[in-house]
Each structure stands twice: as C-alpha cells, then as structure tokens.
C-alpha cells in the first residue's frame, strides 16, 4: 500500500545540512522548553540523521506501515533529537516542537509511543532499547520482512546489565537485520564514563560478544554512511557501530562539558549557538 515518501539521500553535504537544521531545532526546542537534555541530543545528531535520511524506509503519512525500517532511541533522554528529525521528516508540523515537555504534549520529556505516532516504543529508562530492537528484528525475520532495525544507545547506558543480556541474544540468534550504535561521547551525568564506571575496551567487548564492530568518527558523515552500508551487508551477526562523538557537538561552549548533559541554553547562549552552527 504505502511507500516511502522521501527518497534516500546519499549526498554528504546534503546530509550535513540536515544535521545542521536538526541541531538548530534541538537548541530552539530546548531553550523554549527550559528543561531537557542538550549534550546527548547534539552528540548523536549526525548518526541519527544519517540513519533516517540515508538508510531508512518510512512513511510519515503512515507511521505504522508494516514494511518500515524501525528506529529505537534507547537513550530516550535524547528525545529532542528524535523530535527534530521527525519534524524534519514531516511526521508533524514544525510548530509542534514548541510543545516539548508541555502538559499533554505528544512531545513528552522522553519519547512516548502512545502519544506520538512514529515512535516505536517508549524509552527513558536506560538499557532497555536493545532488547526491544532484538524482538522487533526477530519478529520481522519470522515474517520474512526485509525491514531493518536501528538502535542508538549511550555509552554510559551500556553499564546497564540488560544491555549485555541483549548483546548475547542478538549474537545467539544471529540477528543481522539489526544495526546498533553507541554514541560514545565519553560522558555521563556524574562525570566521564571512564571515571564513573569504565566500560573499556568497548570494541573488544562487543566483538567478544559476537558482534561485527565498526568504529568511526561519529561526526564524519562520510564515515557514518559507509558504516551503515557496511552493517547492512554483514550477514549472520549483528553489527555495532561505535561512534566516537563529542557531547554537545556543534556548540563550542557546550562541547565536552559534563554539566550540559541536562541543562538547556539560555536565550543569550541560543543566539551564540545559532551563529556557531550556521557558520560551522
């Protein structure tokens, strides 16, 4: 019945432009809302834009189209990123972004699938998305549906035990219609991941768990697109893309700052940030 409305974009500068637009939306939305997660929304922006616009089949007019590719934002606190992308893709009008975190809004503080069509599952409690992604991938496989599943996790998030249960499951059931990404920005709430609870060696751990691992610069659009294409060609095992990123990417005074995990720009900061992103 339905088909994708957008053709896939492979042009790197076009993808970079979308990422810019998405970052601007994130910053405006968060400034308006006055609360929410800035750093982790910005760090995962390039990867998420590439997933949606260079890889995924979806139809904003028919969000539950059965052949759509699925995207799970396991690090649900980066909801502003998901909303910015969905606005960019015309799931809803851009003005809706002004309602972020307002009473009864479809744009909840963390994504809610019952309030916003196009969100696959509600997230916010870290460590659960990969299991759900596995389940969707297994269900698609049972139906011989060639759709693929994408899942973005935070690096701090991988401290959750359930992530490693899911890591085993994906390898055990040879789930190759799944591509997961770790947004490795090196920071969590209480400080650097290496200080709070070291997760290294990340690549070795995922390979040891039976995953195909690709490590990239998570802000280099060309590397991201190549990695996502490669992931699709890997058969018999799941793929993990370790995206080395900078928390707060794109706004110099937010970059690598632990404290910008969960605070939003002031009006003055927004004005400066907009200039930086437009010039970046």
């Amino acid at each position: 019945m339905s088909a994708t409305t957008k053709s896939k974009i492979k042009d790197i500068s076009e993808l970079n432009n979308i990422a810019k637009s998405v970052r601007l939306k994130i910053l405006h939305m968060l400034t308006n809302a006055g609360s929410g997660h800035t750093g982790g929304s910005l760090s995962a922006a390039d990867v998420a834009v590439a997933i949606y616009f260079s890889k995924m089949n979806f139809n904003p007019q028919d969000p539950s189209w059965k052949d759509r590719d699925r995207f799970i934002l396991s690090k649900g606190h980066a909801a502003p990123l998901l909303y910015a992308i969905m606005a960019e893709a015309r799931y809803f009008p851009e003005e809706t972004l002004d309602n972020l975190r307002q009473i009864e809004s479809p744009l909840q503080g963390h994504p809610c699938c019952k309030r916003l069509a196009g969100v696959e599952v509600s997230t916010g409690s870290l460590g659960q998305g990969l299991s759900v992604a596995n389940g969707i991938a297994l269900g698609l496989r049972l139906d011989n549906n060639p759709a693929r599943v994408y899942c973005i996790m935070g690096d701090g998030e991988t401290q959750e035990g359930q992530v490693w249960e899911a890591a085993m499951t994906a390898a055990h059931y040879r789930i190759d219609n799944l591509c997961a990404v770790i947004d490795k920005n090196g920071l969590q709430i209480d400080g650097p991941v290496s200080k709070v609870m070291n997760i290294e060696p990340v690549a070795d751990k995922w390979s040891a768990f039976g995953w195909h691992v690709i490590e990239i610069d998570g802000h280099n659009m060309e590397q991201i697109v190549i990695a996502l294409d490669k992931a699709e060609s890997v058969k018999g095992k799941p793929t993990m893309i370790i995206a080395n990123t900078t928390k707060g990417k794109g706004v110099s005074f937010f970059e690598n700052k632990v404290e910008y995990h969960g605070i939003t720009p002031t009006r003055e900061e927004l004005a400066k940030a907009v200039v930086e992103i437009n010039n970046g």
């Binding site: 809610c112 269900g139 049972l142 059931y173």
Partner: protein, 325 residues
C-alpha cells in the same frame, strides 16, 4: 452478576485427578500454537518447569530461550509484539515480576504492548525451594501498573480458558499459575471471561472472595460453616484487575462480613484490592486471609499452607470471630 454453578458439572469435575495449572498452560499453549502462527513463546531457562517446553519442541522457530535473563526476555517479548506477534513470556513468578519489574513497567505497560506474562510457581506452594522462589508479592507488583490485567486461575480447566481468552485480548496481561497439583473446582461448562467473577453461591452471613488455590479451600470452609448454620457464599475472583465490581458490590450489600482468601501477601493483592474498592463504595467489615507480611520457608506445600493458616479451618475461625459467634 457472574455465572452460576451447575450442580451436574460439579460431580464430574470432582472425580478427575488433581492437576497443576502450569500443566494446563503447557498443553493449551501447544494447541494455540497449532491454531495460530502469530503465537510466539519466550522462556528464561525454565521451560521444563513452566511447561513452555512442549511448545518449544513442536515450534522451535517460534520459541526463544533467552537464557537466565528475565529483563531481556521482557524487552524482546515487547519487540516481538510490535511486529504483530502475540508473545507469551514465562518464568517463575518471583523472577518474572520482581527481576524485570521496570521492564514490565516501561516497555510493556507504558508502551501498552501486547505481551502475555504467564508466570508459574506463584505462591507458597512452590514448597521445598523456599522463600527465594516463592512469589508472595507478584500480584501487588503487577496490579499497581496501569494497563495491566491480572488473572489468577483456580484450576487446570480455568487456566486453559484463561490462556485462550488472553490470546484474543489486546494488551498486557499477567497470569499467575502454580507448581503443585490442584483439585478441579470449576464446573465443566464454565468459560472464563476477563473481569467476570464466578459466583458459586452467595451467603447472607459471610461471603468469601477467593482466587487461585484458595477457591477450593474456601468452598470447603463454606461447607463446614453451612453445617453450623452460617450461610456463606464463595466467589472465584480470578481476575484481580479489573475487579468484578458488580459482583463485589452485590455480595457486600448482602453480607455481614467479606473474607478474602489468597496465596499472596495480604498487602496489595486480592485482599488489598477488595478493601480499596469496598471502603469507598460499600464499607463492609473485611477479614483478609493470606500471607501476613512475611517470607515463606522450605517445606511441602501442605505443611506450608498449614503453617501460614491458608486452611479451611482458619477461614471458619475467621468468619466466626468476625460474626462474634
């Protein structure tokens, strides 16, 4: 009002050998699997005990053993449901509801996914494994979650009926089953309907609202009380959420006392639910029979039921003291 018992069915069922509800689950799941391709089953390394192993053997492609990983099992089940499958996820009640509670809250209830949580080894009659394996809090843990339906069948036949009913229902369901053999209490022609209590009979003096294995024990108590001239009704409240408020209201209006009987903590389970409803809608004296805010211990199930006074004698004693007789 709920259904009413037919005497002719009663005698037939009493003759049948006692059977564990988990056995009935395994058989029904297999039949469902044969009829419906959308049924998938997950287990966490207990498929022999939960009886999902029967399904696994015949439908290996639709069975997922998740290993000893309950949290991942729940998330994976939610994911499968999002592709239109109807997942049944099983393990022991303690682990299903306790270990994976946040997963059930977030990806099953909040996302309102069509996941069927069917746990076995509920209650004290788990027996010898002891307190670590005896779920006495599971109903409270599940009942508090929005969108969740909570069901505790009384016998093997009711279990079959429940499993078929929830396969056709869209939304999260928790079903609590037991390990030990239980007598057949429901009449032959009984069919379970979600949210409908079964009224064996109503009493002018007391009415016992029971679930699970306590339904049979409540019936024994009512027989004893009847002989002593105390008119006592018995109701099988197998759906604990949503409660059958109509039945509850109508019996409460007629009773001097309501007794709740369950193989679960008196806090937060059937007794809690009944008290919450009646105190607001028809204040009636209530006595709760169940586990009195304690852990269990090892022992055979009969000894454990006696130790915790989940007995007909205790129900009789409680009714009499409430009626000051």
């Amino acid at each position: 009002m709920g259904n009413t018992a037919e005497t002719k069915g009663k005698e037939q069922t009493a003759l049948k050998k006692p059977k564990a509800t988990r056995e009935a689950y395994g058989e029904t799941l297999l039949e469902l699997g044969r009829k419906r391709k959308d049924i998938v089953v997950l287990d966490a390394d207990l498929s022999g005990s939960t009886k999902t192993g029967k399904f696994a053997k015949e439908f290996p492609d639709r069975f997922f053993n998740m290993g000893v990983a309950e949290q991942d099992m729940i998330g994976t089940a939610a994911g499968l449901s999002l592709t239109g499958k109807v997942p049944f996820a099983s393990t022991f009640a303690v682990f299903e509801t306790g270990r994976a509670w946040d997963q059930i809250r977030q990806t099953v209830c909040y996302s309102n996914t069509n996941v069927k949580l069917v746990a076995t080894h509920g209650g004290i009659t788990v027996g010898e494994d002891g307190a670590s394996h005896q779920a006495l809090e599971d109903i409270a843990l599940m009942r508090v979650l929005p969108n969740m339906t909570v069901i505790v069948p009384a016998d093997a036949a009711e279990t079959s009926s429940v499993i078929n009913a929830i396969a056709d229902y869209k939304g999260p369901v928790y079903v609590r089953l037991g390990r030990s053999n239980v007598p057949h209490v429901m009449p032959e022609d009984y069919k379970f309907i979600i949210g409908k209590a079964f009224v064996f009979n109503t009493g002018k003096d007391a009415n016992i609202i029971a679930a699970g294995i306590m339904v049979d024990i409540a019936k024994q108590a009512a027989e004893i009380l009847k002989k002593e001239g105390i008119d006592t009704g018995v109701i099988n409240m197998s759906t604990i959420k949503p409660l059958d408020e109509n039945v509850l209201l109508s019996v409460a209006k007629k009773s001097k006392v309501i007794i709740t009987a369950e193989e679960h903590s008196v806090i937060g389970g059937l007794g809690g639910a009944v008290c919450e409803f009646l105190s607001e809608n028809c204040p009636t004296p209530v006595r709760r029979i169940g586990i009195n805010d304690s852990f269990g211990c090892s022992g055979n199930s009969d000894d454990l039921l006696n130790l915790h006074e989940l007995t007909a004698d205790n129900i009789v004693k409680t009714v009499k003291s409430a009626l000051k007789k």
